[in-house]
Symmetry: C2
Subunit: 450 residues, 2 copies
């Protein structure tokens, strides 16, 4: 039940574009959802993509632009004249229009705006451009339906007819007073069943309605809408005047970005790299973490230098360096990940950090014991030097516990410092655990052998 893009389909489109086979292309395209057309454009050359736009109706073309990945849209828009872009922007909801304009250079932006035909729309969009893109104001759209509480149902429906023209999807009607202050919400369902003569003030729901301020952070908006299962939320300014609404589809995108960001931080990638990003951008966003790791490795080597003699006498010590570092790293990352997700889902707000650490300590002891015993046994059967077995066994035990504790504390500290705790699950924890682990390991070896 979902359009499946195939290689042959793309090839058909491409040849049709070459031959300017209007009929074929229109037939293929006209019923497709913009998201699907965007997918096609993505797999065409830039010029082909631009060419395809000539065959789309205004609405389709505009929506397709919105659905494209930013990097492709950017390249593609360079092939559009300001006039052409303005035509698209005129078609878009104010929030999409603002996002699109926000990606253009200042100068180009002004050119496009000056070419927009719908002046009222243009001024709405300009208003939205003022807001920080990470704020509710940056997410909201100016298209929504509002009525006065003093209206009758009949009058309300007439109002609705007027306003609903430009509002693509009406989920609920916002009720305001004379000075546009948000009073409450009215569902279409209730309106549909109400007597034409009854007053809105008798119908709408006013107690604890959910709304956000224009300066609320987009992640808080997402939290609220998710928490209360909302499909749209009204946005008010500092005077509680209704200025916009945010719909769930935009919030779904925010959640998506959030999840991807955490995942990337956990994998040691600084800023969003699509698989399609250039080699250089790709490298740039990955190098920082690698260099941190490199630095960690250098520090480790400096630590090991102090034990040069011991290694020379007993090279077996060196054999287990990877085991120590790997195990410490793995345990640490796990601990951090659990804390990060706990923080995200607000699982332990005031539930006591201490309790959390205590539990993690127990887990550490358990895992440490199992690993320590296993590794001791392995040594016992493969290596005549029993002290080595004891050394590595005890070391693993302690390293695991330290890693668990550190992996738990670190994200909590970051969180206190208002730094994204997901950073903790990145290479940083692994690196630190390498250093901690090796120090412990060789200290113990030093004690047991000398």
């Amino acid at each position: 039940m979902k359009f499946e893009l195939t290689k042959s389909f793309i090839e058909d489109i491409q040849s049709a574009l070459e031959e300017n086979n209007i009929v074929f292309i229109k037939a293929q395209i006209f019923e497709l959802h913009p998201a699907d057309i965007a997918d096609i454009v993505k797999h065409l050359g830039l010029d082909e993509g631009k060419h395809l736009f000539d065959y789309l109706d205004e609405e389709q073309a505009a929506q397709t632009l919105v659905e494209l990945d930013e990097d492709i849209r950017e390249k593609l828009l360079e092939l559009f004249s300001p006039k052409e872009i303005a035509e698209q922007v005129d078609q878009l909801d104010s929030d999409d229009a603002a996002d699109l304009l926000g990606e253009l250079s200042e100068q180009r932006k002004d050119e496009v705006i000056s070419k927009m035909e719908d002046k009222e729309h243009a001024s709405e969009v300009i208003d939205l451009l003022r807001y920080d893109e990470d704020s509710a104001g940056g997410l909201m759209q100016s298209e929504f339906v509002q009525v006065r509480s003093s209206f009758t149902v009949k009058r309300c429906i007439i109002e609705l007819r007027k306003q609903a023209e430009e509002v693509e999807k009406v989920y609920s009607i916002y009720v305001v007073d004379e000075s546009d202050v948000l009073l409450g919400v009215l569902s279409l369902k209730r309106l549909l069943f109400a007597k034409p003569t009854s007053l809105i003030s008798e119908l709408y729901q006013s107690n604890n309605i959910k709304y956000v301020k224009t300066n609320s952070h987009k992640e808080d908006v997402a939290d609220i809408m998710k928490r209360y299962d909302l499909i749209a939320i009204p946005v008010v300014d500092y005077q509680n005047k209704l200025v916009g609404r945010i719909t769930i589809d935009d919030v779904v995108d925010v959640m998506q970005e959030e999840a991807e960001k955490d995942y990337q931080l956990a994998s040691g990638i600084t800023d969003n790299v699509e698989a399609t990003a250039s080699v250089f951008k790709n490298t740039k966003s990955r190098l920082p973490w690698i260099l941190i790791g490199l630095l960690g490795g250098v520090l480790s080597s400096l630590i090991l230098q102090n034990y040069e003699a011991d290694i020379q006498i007993n090279p077996v010590l060196a054999f287990f360096i990877p085991l120590i570092t790997a195990t410490g790293g793995n345990v640490g990352v796990q601990s951090s990940a659990i804390v990060v997700q706990g923080l995200a889902s607000k699982e332990f707000m005031f539930k006591g950090i201490f309790k959390r650490i205590l539990k993690e300590l127990l887990v550490g002891v358990l895992i440490g014991l199992i690993c320590g015993i296993l590794i001791f046994l392995f040594n016992f059967f493969t290596n005549t030097d029993i002290i080595m077995g004891i050394t590595i066994g005890i070391s693993i035990f302690i390293v695991v516990i330290i890693a668990a504790i550190f992996g738990t504390l670190f994200p909590l500290i970051l969180n206190k410092l208002k730094i994204d705790p997901a950073l903790a699950t990145g290479p940083f924890v692994t690196t630190t655990n390498d250093i901690l682990g090796l120090s412990v390991y060789f200290m113990i070896a030093f004690m047991l052998y000398n």
Copy 2:
């Protein structure tokens, strides 16, 4: 604009519960959203939590149960009698009811169902219990509004009044034929503006409406709803008969789980561990990865054994083991993460795996060069043995490239094998890269020194 739970609030509630201060509790609770009440329950003792339910109205109580985390709900429900649970279930939408019943033991489930008063509701719920919980059937609810295409608007609104009773949120109306086969969708907005005499068949939208089959996988449902910005999607059976609908809030939860799962796999945690999970469950879900890492460490040690002599002669070799393993691991995980996200967002379907690997190769060469040179320089200035610098420099260079390639290939292979590629970003890649890296490093050392 969002209820903020405070420690003192919890304490007030607790003492009020002790004193059976009905007035106070009612006053605190009655306007709260179930999600907020669930939050309160979470921070109360089990018995206190159960006690609080006595003060909630039926609707609140039922919804609060739904909002609770599964593990807490499970414990709490043990304090409820089958009769009490049945009363809650009667209040719930069919999908929530089915989910709740699905968590009970077979025997308890039957007891509860037998105690349900709304028999029609009960049979709907029983139907839903038949579906796999990962399928659209497992997500859908039986509450939706459907009308015949032959109806007039007037008749339709009357129908609506009847049906809308039990349908909490009406987003759009589904149009079916005499045998309930889905024909199309009609928005409330259009209905609101239509003449009472006009026919539904003239109003509803029929071309490429989005729907899913009962057996579609929930992740595909999520993809479709996200892709097409839907807030609700109809579900049809194998005969295309309309049997239910899935609303965006349920899909948002699916997306959330998905993201968390990937993140956990990336951090080496097998199945979902909330921070609140028991020490044992916690350990159980983490141990597998740790043991894989342990095994990897053992293998590394066996590889290193072959170079015992070299390490004895030149212990400096050992100093850089952590550097080699850490760098290889970090690069590998990055490469995998990028591929995993690329796969998730379907970025390179037929865009050529080869192209992808080539690019990754270039990135690897770039990062490898930078790291290799840096580490060579570090050695050059801190260590008289120039060969050591060359050895480690070249090794890092090669290790990074191998890690990048392997990290890219591995998730692609998993994906081909229909295994979740996110597994690749877990400790597995790091472990493998440790082994590969060390082999390269010591082989090169062996060649250069002998």
